[in-house]
Symmetry: C2
Subunit: 497 residues, 2 copies
């Protein structure tokens, strides 16, 4: 394991001070052009040197005929060129003394035949010149804090805490918008492509040391260095969680992976074993990958697997209870003390079983502050799962019926819902136990957005919320084991990352 992130072959790939860019032009139809647009849009603060055989200027930058003409040796070369000329240009970069590259171009091992030979050439050139490169057949790196984005699409949202290494570039760029919708973002994301030189293990090592990465996401179609993968993951998960989506376990998935990156996927049980041995939490889908990253990066770890469910509706409570049962989570009875304390808040029709079903919301402020606080304080509760259904339209209508003039009701209802999301967020902040919401309302609604923006994970399905809690328990168990905390089986908190 590396001691310092600066020793990583990816350090200057993710944090270049200057870039030589091959393949960008003023023609929007050439693939390099939108990459230069992305680089500019992100506000990259280093120097960009477009290299172009004909154009004098590329999108406002002075272009150079050859990399050998550049006034300095750039930290990084990015190649978006037809595959057949990539070796020649990489060779020139090597001669110039450039030590790091991203080869975006496709047309290598993933196509077989000639492509395999071309890829071998790249490897030889890199070895000769002691270069390290990402790709080929990748979309590079997004490091929003360094204002670096070498991908085709513009980064959206804020820099986040998810570090990603992906064998699919789409699962980086095409998720910018998706993650921003949930208030999430990448710390640094690597598209590894064919992994001809730098591979997913190198990325994990980098992200393990990255101070902005609180959780690592992997998208895997096949692992090459099995032993190194397991060793590296094992060392990292004692400090920060790793979540992986593996595609290729089914025969059809395996064949799809083969044509996508040329990686040879293995049977599902083999990978299941690798993840288990590594202490990696496995996600079932790309949405679940990011769901688990969300809670693992944002919430404290639970001390055990006991979930209290707070609801005002029977069906959503029962569905959550059922999913908890299937996920191996427990639903403890409330302690007599808690029952005493919450009884004043409970209407006649309500149930003090778990799910705690209020049947309806007597007082909104209680429902969103005193009640979740009391439930989290129960000695039997390790986590709180809270059902959220608060349509702004209904609140507005209720206010109108209470005599608030129509023209003020909209504003008042917004204020009320804002105060409520503030209340829940405060509950989360003042307790050391995790709290997660679930809803069937749109996550674009003010109330839900207010919660998400304040750091409360809210999932648009019961199943997803429960699987997220399950991952917290599994990681807490793992941390308990790996730190030898045998007494509880669970650590009592998270070390600073």
């Amino acid at each position: 394991m590396l001691k310092s992130i600066k020793k990583s072959p990816l350090y200057r790939i993710a944090n270049p001070r200057s870039i030589a860019l091959f393949g960008a032009s003023s023609n929007i139809l050439s693939m390099g052009t939108p990459i230069l647009i992305s680089l500019k849009a992100m506000g990259f603060e280093g120097t960009i040197y477009p290299v172009h055989p004909e154009e004098e200027h590329v999108q406002g930058f002075k272009a150079h005929r050859s990399v050998l003409d550049l006034p300095e040796v750039p930290d990084l070369a990015i190649l978006i060129l037809p595959a057949r000329i990539v070796p020649r240009i990489l060779e020139e970069c090597g001669k110039m003394g450039i030590k790091h590259a991203i080869v975006v171009s496709g047309g290598f091992k993933e196509l077989g035949g000639e492509g395999v030979k071309l890829e071998n050439e790249l490897q030889e050139i890199a070895n000769t010149h002691e270069m390290r490169f990402l790709g080929p057949n990748c979309i590079g790196v997004t490091n929003p804090r360094h204002r670096l984005n070498t991908t085709l699409l513009q980064y959206l949202g804020n820099p986040g805490f998810i570090g990603m290494a992906s064998q699919s570039g789409s699962f980086i760029t095409q998720m910018f918008h998706y993650l921003a919708n949930f208030g999430l973002g990448f710390s640094t994301a690597f598209s590894v492509g064919n992994e001809a030189n730098v591979d997913i293990v190198d990325c994990m090592e980098y992200l393990g040391l990255c101070p902005h990465t609180r959780v690592i996401a992997l998208y895997i179609e096949g692992i090459k260095r099995g032993k190194a993968f397991v060793e590296t993951a094992k060392a990292i998960v004692t400090r920060k969680p790793i979540v992986a989506l593996y595609v290729g376990g089914s025969e059809t998935g395996r064949l799809a992976g083969l044509s996508h990156t040329g990686a040879l996927a293995g049977p599902d049980p083999l990978y299941e074993g690798v993840f288990r041995q590594s202490g990696i939490i496995r996600a079932r889908s790309i949405t679940e990958l990011f769901d688990l990253c969300w809670v693992l990066g944002a919430l404290p770890l639970p001390k055990g697997k006991k979930v209290v469910i707070q609801t005002h509706s029977g069906g959503p409570g029962a569905e959550a209870a059922d999913f908890c049962g299937r996920a191996g989570l427990e639903l403890p009875a409330l302690s007599p003390d808690t029952i005493n304390r919450i009884t004043p808040f409970m209407p006649e029709t309500s149930s003090v079983h778990n799910p705690v079903d209020f049947t309806f919301t007597k007082n909104l402020i209680d429902y969103f502050s005193s009640i979740p606080s009391l439930l989290l304080e129960d000695k039997n509760a390790d986590m709180l799962l809270i059902y959220l259904f608060m349509p702004q339209q209904s609140v507005k209508r209720a206010l109108e019926h209470l005599g608030i003039p129509k023209d003020q009701a909209a504003e008042k209802s917004r204020e009320l819902l804002d105060a409520q999301s503030q209340s829940i967020a405060s509950v989360l902040k003042t307790h050391t136990k995790p709290l997660v919401g679930y809803t069937y309302r749109s996550i674009q609604e003010d109330f839900i957005r207010g919660l998400i923006d304040r750091g409360v994970p809210v999932f648009p399905s019961t199943e997803r919320a429960v699987h997220a809690l399950e991952s917290l328990v599994r990681y807490a168990e793992l941390r308990g084991r790996s730190t030898g905390n045998a007494e509880h089986g669970f650590p009592t908190g998270r070390s600073a990352i």
Copy 2:
């Protein structure tokens, strides 16, 4: 089985011409009040008779002191009253000659003890007066075409094709907004509550005969009349599909269901057997329940289980292939004829394997019209699954770079995307094979909404899209078996419903 829907005990419950309403007042805090608001908001065209012991007028309606004072015998009584007075009022309704009721009030069998006795009283009163009633402990009926909505929340969106019977009222009312977001709606939805008189089997029978119901959704925590349930379902599924979510299979879910409706849930394998024997397709979650209803109600049935995946991104293609494999769907090779026909559309880096990965979109119009058409025409293809990623922002930016002035680019990009969603919708309309989209963009985006509004199901996750296709295959297999179409194992189309 009933021959005519008009013979159903639920006919006048779902299609009343006049309603006696107990429990609504001018006080917003009494639970009956928002129900009257909902009834009014839906524009109910029959007569509403609020009955109130003190108020002269209730929300603009003349109130009567007693049901016995009404000028006619209403078709339906709706009771939203404290449990202890419900028997007395139901008795009065019986004396008045009212034959149908909805008992919204809770506080009966679900509470045990005295509640059980009270519920028995209701049953005896109904038997004496030959009344049929829904509930207690339910939220009644939504039949948007009859402009009837007895629930607490206002109906949203258009009348739809999903008929529902639910042991949770929340999964009806709190899904109005959710369904409208996907362009879906209820034909008629029944909240069955404690099923003291009318039960879920009666609802299935009604919905089986309902001409606006193309697919039946059930939310089940426990079945009482097992044999009748199986017989009724078996008869219906030869004509229209039934999808069920069962909660209570895990021990924790079972206990939650017990306190929710007082139904005794059985072990999961028992229910699995019941569904299998009945020809009911089981959903894993409430979101999946409506996902499956969507495709089963909106799409033609496939002739087999072969899926062609169209993508321009490797990762989403590989994930879809993996899910198809796990779901038992097959990914056929394209026929040589199709390969010849699509080759002109394929860039150099693309793959004519399945997933058909275009790697990027050379020409948007081809990608959304000629290509899916050619793929659906392949004799090896039973279904098409198409990955959608078309951010309006990117299209706008591309247009700007092509020289379209900034102020026109937004409008042009909207037009372009609208034309594309029109193209895909046409492909679906001109073929008899199902087509489903999947995306990680928001379903609120113009392009995706354009597709949904034109009848193309688009799912916000790969997994959900694949499970939806899987349900089509399962229902097609079932229909093939039940109609004795042994040769294909699949029917060739859908009979008119």
